[in-house]
Amino acid sequence: MGREVGIVGVGQTHHSRRRTDVSQAGLVREAVNRALADAKLSMDDIDTVVVATGPVLFGGVNQPEKWVVDAIGAQGKSVVRLTSGGGAGFAGALAGYYQVAGGYSERTLVVAYDKLSEGPLQYSISTLYDPFWGREFAVGIMGFSAAYWRARMDVLGHTEEAAAMCAAKNRNNAINNPYAHQKKAVTVEDVLNSKPLCWPIKLLDVPPISDGAAAIVLANDKVAHHSNSRPAWIRGIAYCCEADNAPERSLMVSEPLALASRQVYRAAGITNPRRQFDVVEIQEPYSCFELNYYESLGLCPPGQAADLVASGATQLDGDIPVNPSGGCMGANPIGAVGVIRLIEAATQVMGRNESHQIKDAKLALVQSGGGWANLRGCAVLSA
């Protein structure tokens, strides 16, 4: 079998609506410097580098790792870029995980970023659609996401309020996150009364548009202790997909996420996720996705996500806090988000989370995803 892999250093930028003081490459540098310092390492100690970003149309630079390599001082190293839409950061971490687990490297730096202020975001995302078949009607994936939320509302009897509860919870949690830039207290009513953008998605169901980068250092069990006496070990990680235009695709649950969680839970020995996990970090590109994930990850039975959020169990003081960091609602530099969620979960199990440390957190669940809601993954971290 392969090596054990731990997260031994983390770093993220102070995310912002728009950074006009650094280039895309300079932004990446900031996160990398912080992660290396956190791991008590320099770039010389790093064997391989994985870069991850959202679609290249976001920033107007094709294969941007070939530019970024200079800013992070990784010239000469093994550098490769992964991309997977919103799940890019997570997909990058997964590739890095296997570089270490498979013995290709002892220490791998994974850095993910997007500088979304630089391009027309929704139009870039709309180019996800088949140019022959529907692209002209796309509004990013907001129209699509809202459509399937509506379908869930109709079938399951969930109300707009359930998603608004997720949005309000995450927005209020983000206030204490030093790296978030959207920090305003909101009530469920504020969310419900905000402007419909793609109804049922309303303004406050939508995360901000952000510039940001995030980096982690992965190390094998042989060298991890040089950086950190208490690494966050990756006990299971998977990222599955489903074909986008499939006949049976209902999106009542996310099938790829359900498949990924099944694999990961088996690897990590999770039989009762609601009871076993101390904290959960998920990537909610719109508030409504959080409800879907509760069910797909098995935090509640199918169809009962609205009850779960209404019960308060996923609040900071609940038995299964979800997104103490505020999730995407505090900052959403899309390609970086998968790594940000890993960082927030890793620091929880390391006992040094800067937003809201969950007391005695030992086992954390991380979810991320991208594409047309058809690329979905999760990971289990433990101290």
Binding site: R19, T20, D21, V22, S23, Q24, A25, G26, R29, L57, G59, G60, D70, A71, I72, G73, A74, Q75, S117, E118, G119, P120, Q122, Y123, S124, S126, Y129, D130, P131, F132, W133, G134, R135, E136, F137, A138, V139, G140, M142, G143, F144, S145, A146, A147, Y148, W149, R150, A151, D154, V155, K195, P196, L197, C198, W199, P200, N245, A246, P247, E248
Partner: protein, 308 residues
């Protein structure tokens, strides 16, 4: 060894598509100051701890990522270290006097006159503004005096944003399946799909291999221009590149006879009315665009709700 699909190369029309995007790019501190100063006729470089200077200025050493100690002014004279000609235009590598690096720029001159080590100097274009093209290019200047790197003095605020745009044009192949589907739309006003590998309902758009089973799809099947909404939302946000006036309904419609979605729009007058009356399960029909059909999805102007 398998070479497939087995077809003979033929010339077929293609589907033109363009992706055109405006950007507001941030150059960062060094390049931002460079772009401000180049409009003033000054070339800004970066000086590193070991005293070496590179120009144009960079925030990070291209050798090892080190950050510079100071920004300095580089002279506009130097030597040519490499060159080529592409599409009649000469591009060269120029090392400015006092600098450790070379960079790419245009060479204004004939290839035959060039040799490595040749002295060159910048030809300025006062009208180009805050752009690397404020230097129009470099010209051969055999007796240009050797310039020196100077301190820059007080630094201006870096340029925060550079406007940039690009357009990417595509000629997409239709292939056998999209080819027939759009031909049928154009000629007969009919949506033809192919049956799934183990189903009577048709996949739209059609394809050779079933996405789920990865087995060969079945025979062609005509679908109706009526159908049922699988999922829909009400678009009320205006974004770059949008083709319809808001508000409208974004609808994923499963046409009768098909199993997969077609994405289209339904026009609405009123948000509240649409919330109640247009939802998953609602029956809709296609409203065809007036005039000659083009063989595109836009041959359908929109869908409308079938009353009662």
């Amino acid at each position: 060894m398998y070479y497939a699909p087995e077809t003979t190369p033929i010339d077929l029309p293609t589907f033109h598509s363009q992706i055109k995007l405006p950007y507001t790019l941030t150059p960062g501190r060094a390049a931002g100051i460079f772009l401000v100063e180049i409009a003033n006729g000054r070339i800004v470089g970066s000086r590193f701890k070991d005293g070496s200077v590179i120009a144009p200025a960079q925030d990070f050493s291209p050798k090892d990522g080190e950050e510079p100690e100071a920004l300095v002014e580089a002279p506009d004279t130097g030597e040519l270290t490499g060159f080529t000609r592409v599409d009649g235009a000469v591009i060269g590598l120029i090392r400015l006097d006092g600098c450790a690096n070379a960079f790419t720029h245009r060479i204004l001159g004939e290839l035959a006159d060039l040799k490595v080590g040749q002295r060159v100097k910048a030809e300025w274009d006062g009208a180009a503004g805050q752009s690397i093209l404020a230097i129009k290019g470099f010209v051969v200047a055999a007796d240009a005096p050797v310039g020196t790197v100077k301190e820059l003095g007080e630094l201006p605020e870096p340029l925060g944003v550079v406007n940039y745009a690009f357009a990417l044009d595509y000629e997409h192949a239709y292939g056998p399946y999209y080819g027939r589907m759009f031909d049928e739309i154009k000629q007969n006003g009919v949506f033809m799909g192919v049956r799934g590998s183990n189903a009577d309902e048709a996949l739209l758009p059609p394809r050779e291999i079933d996405d789920i089973t990865h087995k060969r799809t079945g025979t062609w099947k005509a679908c109706a221009d009526t159908g049922t909404i699988r999922a829909c939302s009400i678009i009320n946000i205006e974004v770059y590149g949008q083709t319809r006036q808001v508000p409208y309904v974004y609808a994923e419609v499963v046409l009768d006879g098909a199993s997969t979605k077609m994405i289209h729009v339904i026009e609405i007058d009123d948000l509240e009315h649409a919330k109640k009356n247009i939802k998953p399960g609602t029956r809709v029909r296609a409203v065809w665009t007036k005039g000659e059909r083009q063989g595109r999805v836009s041959d359908i102007e929109r869908f409308e709700v079938i009353d009662g």
